[in-house]
């Protein structure tokens, strides 16, 4: 009878693993905390000046807005150009990186690693590189976003391509179609909605990224932001940040509503 009231056994726990993980996380946090030089005294020293700056940064200087229109427009232009070129170039990169479609192991291996290396560098690093290579200005920004777009779309879309139904591409091949015809009629149409969705997502990321590319001289509103920031014109900085926020939120809403209808 007693059996009815005995509790079920507690699930077994791997204490060694738990203790090990907690210790590792604690040590890493302690080490990092020291590494970034978190100190309350410094915080206390900076706080008065900093809070004054913060108070000054509100309200934003709205009269400055007309001067922002041209840079904001340029920012969007950079995002469009980067997304379109990158979106086109991402197609071959994604196809060759899809295990089921790639023509050979060596191509797949090289392309896959190329893709991974593209993804390791943040967008602003590409912007700095292109600004050094082709000079300061929006072209550097557009090129940086091109690379960034290839990295985003090819990674996501190659996974969608790997998940397609291989019956259709095989049928195209079996009826004498070439590899390209197999892609055109068998593989790509199946994953096309995903492609459009990822392209929109990349555009969203690009609009957000294009706003800050100018910090390293790659064109757009960021260049204005950088000059106003370095001269501590925080009321103007706040206005720029607000503009960026509004645009990013609008683009996000539009793109999300399109994407919801697609898939």
């Amino acid at each position: 009878m007693n059996d009815v009231f005995t509790r079920p056994p507690r699930p077994a726990r791997n204490w060694a693993l738990i203790i090990g993980a907690v210790t590792a996380v604690t040590l890493m946090t302690w080490w990092s905390g020291r590494g970034i030089g978190f100190s309350l005294t410094e915080l206390a020293c900076n706080l008065p000046g900093g809070s004054r700056l913060l108070v000054e940064s509100w309200p934003p200087e709205f009269s400055y807005f007309p001067r922002l229109l041209a840079p904001l427009l340029e920012t969007l232009q950079i995002a469009v150009v980067g997304t379109v070129i990158g979106g086109i170039l991402a197609v071959p990169v994604a196809v060759l990186a899809a295990r089921n479609l790639t023509p050979g192991f060596l191509v797949w291996f090289v392309d896959r690693n190329f893709m991974n290396i593209l993804r390791t560098l943040p967008d602003l690093f590409w912007a700095m590189l292109f600004a050094a290579a082709v000079g300061f200005g929006p072209i550097a920004g557009a090129l940086a976003l091109t690379v960034f777009t290839i990295a985003v779309i090819s990674k996501l879309w190659s996974e969608s391509l790997e998940a397609i139904n291989m019956g259709v591409p095989e049928a195209v091949r079996a009826s004498g179609g070439s590899w390209l015809q197999m892609l055109q009629f068998g593989a790509i149409p199946q994953a096309l909605p995903h492609y459009v969705s990822y392209a929109l997502y990349a555009f969203e990321l690009n609009v957000r990224a294009s706003m800050i590319l100018g910090l390293v001289g790659a064109g757009g509103i960021g260049m204005v932001l950088e000059t106003q920031r370095s001269t501590f014109e925080y009321p103007r900085v706040t206005l720029i940040v607000l503009c960026v926020l509004v645009i990013v939120l609008i683009i996000e809403q539009v793109s999300e509503s399109i994407r919801r209808r697609l898939i």
């Binding site: 890493m28 990092s32 905390g33 590494g35 970034i36 030089g37 978190f38 100190s39 410094e42 915080l43 020293c45 900076n46 706080l47 000046g49 900093g50 809070s51 700056l53 940064s57 340029e74 969007l76 232009q77 950079i78 469009v80 150009v81 379109v84 991974n116 290396i117 390791t120 560098l121 943040p122 967008d123 602003l124 690093f125 700095m128 590189l129 600004a131 050094a132 290579a133 082709v134 200005g137 929006p138 072209i139 557009a142 090129l143 957000r208 990224a209 706003m211 800050i212 910090l215 390293v216 920031r229 501590f232 925080y234 900085v237 940040v241 960026v244 926020l245 990013v248 939120l249 996000e252």
Partner: protein, 261 residues
């Protein structure tokens, strides 16, 4: 159907062609506006090749003495940022789940959407004057912007759980807090920790660029080397960054796969 003809699928390309056309026109206008002419485009490979030739050989002495410490600082920033984000987002993720707290969830989701709209670097612009130049400002910026994404992803995980255990705890007389502790958290923790790790990978990249506005890490080093045209030193920065990020992605990816198994 007459014999000998094949059944063609209907030509439903009407709107797709139109959308493509609109995008093409928008692209041409934008490209023209930023002076990206075909001639400029054709000249690009030559320009790139010229600059890239300056990158060789990479100055690895500089890499050891200056770049590695800066990269380590970026990792520290990313780690502290992730820890801050994880701590704040865990309760928010629970509160943001429609299935558990229908009324608060909307508000929490609104907050997280706003936090996500800020690029880290804009937050850093504000944190740098407040807490001083350096890595701590970067860690704060990364932490705050992590909260947005982690809350959203975490709330989605919580919304997808099996509600059976929650009901069981409440049916047995357990409070809401006990239900969270014994029915919700054990179900969601592996996936949420996997999201933390994923965010850590993203934060490494984010913290790498924060140096641009003086918030510590490797970004400032790259900006300076490129500004003074020390391309061999910039090459060391790029090589080491790629290497370190690849290693961390691999480690974190392996742990994530184990967690989700």
């Amino acid at each position: 159907m007459r014999p000998g003809t094949t059944l063609q699928p209907p030509a439903g390309m009407g709107w797709a062609t139109r959308v493509t056309l609109v995008i093409a026109i928008a692209f041409l206008i934008c490209a023209w506006a930023i002076d990206l002419t075909p001639a400029a485009l054709a000249d690009l490979p030559r320009q790139m090749a010229t600059v890239l030739s300056f990158f060789y050989p990479a100055d690895m002495d500089y890499g050891r003495s200056r770049v590695l410490p800066a990269l380590l600082e970026s990792i520290h920033i990313a780690w502290i940022g992730t820890i801050i984000g994880a701590f704040i987002s865990l309760p928010l993720a629970l509160l943001g789940a429609r299935t558990l707290f229908p009324r608060i969830a909307r508000l929490v989701k609104l907050i997280s959407a706003t936090a996500r709209a800020f690029p880290e670097i804009l937050l850093a612009i504000y944190f740098v004057p407040i807490v001083g130049l350096g890595a701590f400002a970067g860690a704060l910026a990364i932490g705050i912007s992590s909260v947005g994404m982690l809350t959203k992803l975490g709330a989605e995980v919580v919304e997808s759980i099996d509600m059976g255990p929650v009901e069981a705890v409440q049916a047995a007389g357990g409070s809401r807090l006990l239900a969270l502790r014994y029915a919700v958290v054990p179900q969601v923790l592996p996936e949420i920790v996997a999201h933390w790790l994923f965010r850590f990978e993203l934060n490494i990249r984010a913290s790498a660029v924060l140096g641009v506005v003086g918030a510590g890490g490797v970004g400032g080093v790259l900006l300076n080397t490129l500004r003074y045209r020390h391309f061999e030193k910039a090459a060391a920065v790029l090589l080491l960054t790629i290497l370190v990020v690849l290693i961390i992605d691999m480690l974190s990816g392996a742990i994530r796969r184990r967690l989700l198994r």
